[in-house]
């Protein structure tokens, strides 16, 4: 490995950028699947931060957390995609802006 490893802050800032982009996707995209994919991007960014910190401390804990986040993401995907399919069947659309019947 390199004698002087890159400062960990760089990774964290990159993860913040990716995270914010994911959040941006949730806020601007109208397709439910894409919104969901943006959430995945956010989780992914968080994972990057975790691994970076795990490297900093030379520990396993951060990596294990990433493992759990991935598994949870998989579970979310199963449920989320099922929901999206169901909605599509009923409404023939997955534009979340059309999902606004429930309001005052």
């Amino acid at each position: 490995m390199e004698p002087a490893p890159l400062n960990i802050s760089a990774y964290v800032v990159l993860s913040a950028i990716l995270f914010a982009m994911g959040a941006l996707g949730v806020l601007i995209r109208r397709n439910a699947i894409l919104v969901f994919m943006s959430v995945e991007l956010m989780l992914n960014a968080a994972n990057l931060a975790l691994i970076a910190f795990a490297r900093f401390y030379n520990q396993m804990d951060g990596q294990i957390l990433v493992f759990f986040v991935m598994t949870v993401a998989a579970a979310e995907v199963a449920v989320g995609l099922a929901l999206i399919v169901v909605i599509f069947r009923t409404r023939r659309s997955i534009n979340i802006d059309e999902l606004s019947r429930l309001k005052d």
Binding site: L6, V12, L18, G25, L48, V85
Partner: protein, 225 residues
């Protein structure tokens, strides 16, 4: 500039570009592929951060399995052309506000990180380099210290499976709902026969057609809205 820094800049740029591509491409398929690219870049970072096992998991599970599922659903629904349809005027300010907030978020977190003066990590020695973050070490921690969350995740996956089945399965009419449905059909028939008898001059074929129509949606939508 060391190799790591060089790699970081290159791969980081690709990762950000891929994320941007996911955000702004018009086609759902393209977005999904951009996300796969982004995930792969992050996997490279994992390798650089001495987490080889997680990097593999990232590629196989995340980019491989989960994203394929996404692609599959996009194609299944035929909704790769996306973001069509009406948008309310009231959402007009949404996009600029979202950009502002995202930028602000980056600024705030970066400020928090950068003011802290985090020291550079200790370089890993050779022994660590070969074992750290490998499957053996991950397994050892996962099955001892992290046994409880591991079990919980098992239950969670079970719940998600139940959920996917319950939600995606076609609604199977229970006897009760079938009975209710049959009752409704019988009423319709009754109505139709009365109409038929009243309108004696009309031929019976119309009535039969209506009858079929009434019966057709029965198994699909028992509860109604």
């Amino acid at each position: 500039m060391g190799l790591e820094t060089f790699l970081f800049i290159i791969v980081g740029a690709v990762a950000v570009a891929a994320a941007a591509g996911m955000l702004f491409s018009k086609s759902g398929i393209h977005s999904a592929l951009f996300l796969v690219l982004n995930l792969a870049c992050v996997a490279v970072f994992y390798l650089m951060l001495s987490a080889p096992f997680m990097a593999m998991v990232q590629i196989t599970v995340y980019a491989g399995a989960i994203m394929v599922l996404f692609l599959f659903v996009i194609m299944l629904l035929g909704s790769e052309r996306i973001d069509l349809g009406l948008t309310d005027r009231r959402l007009g300010f949404q996009t600029p506000a979202a950009f502002a907030l995202a930028v602000l978020f980056i600024v705030v977190v970066a400020a928090a990180v950068l003011t802290g003066q985090i020291p550079a990590p200790q370089p890993v020695n050779d022994v660590q380099a070969t074992t750290h973050g490998g499957p053996g070490e991950v397994g050892a921690v996962l099955y001892t210290r992290y046994l409880l969350p591991f079990e919980m995740v098992a239950v969670l996956l079970l719940a998600a499976t139940i959920g996917a089945v319950v939600l995606a399965r076609d609604v199977i009419p229970t006897k009760r709902s079938q009975r209710a449905q049959m009752g409704r059909i019988r009423e319709l028939r009754q109505m139709i026969t009365t109409i038929e008898t009243e309108a004696a001059s009309a031929p019976g074929a119309d009535g039969e057609g209506a009858e079929e129509e009434a019966a057709a949606p029965a198994p699909a939508a028992p509860a109604g809205e």
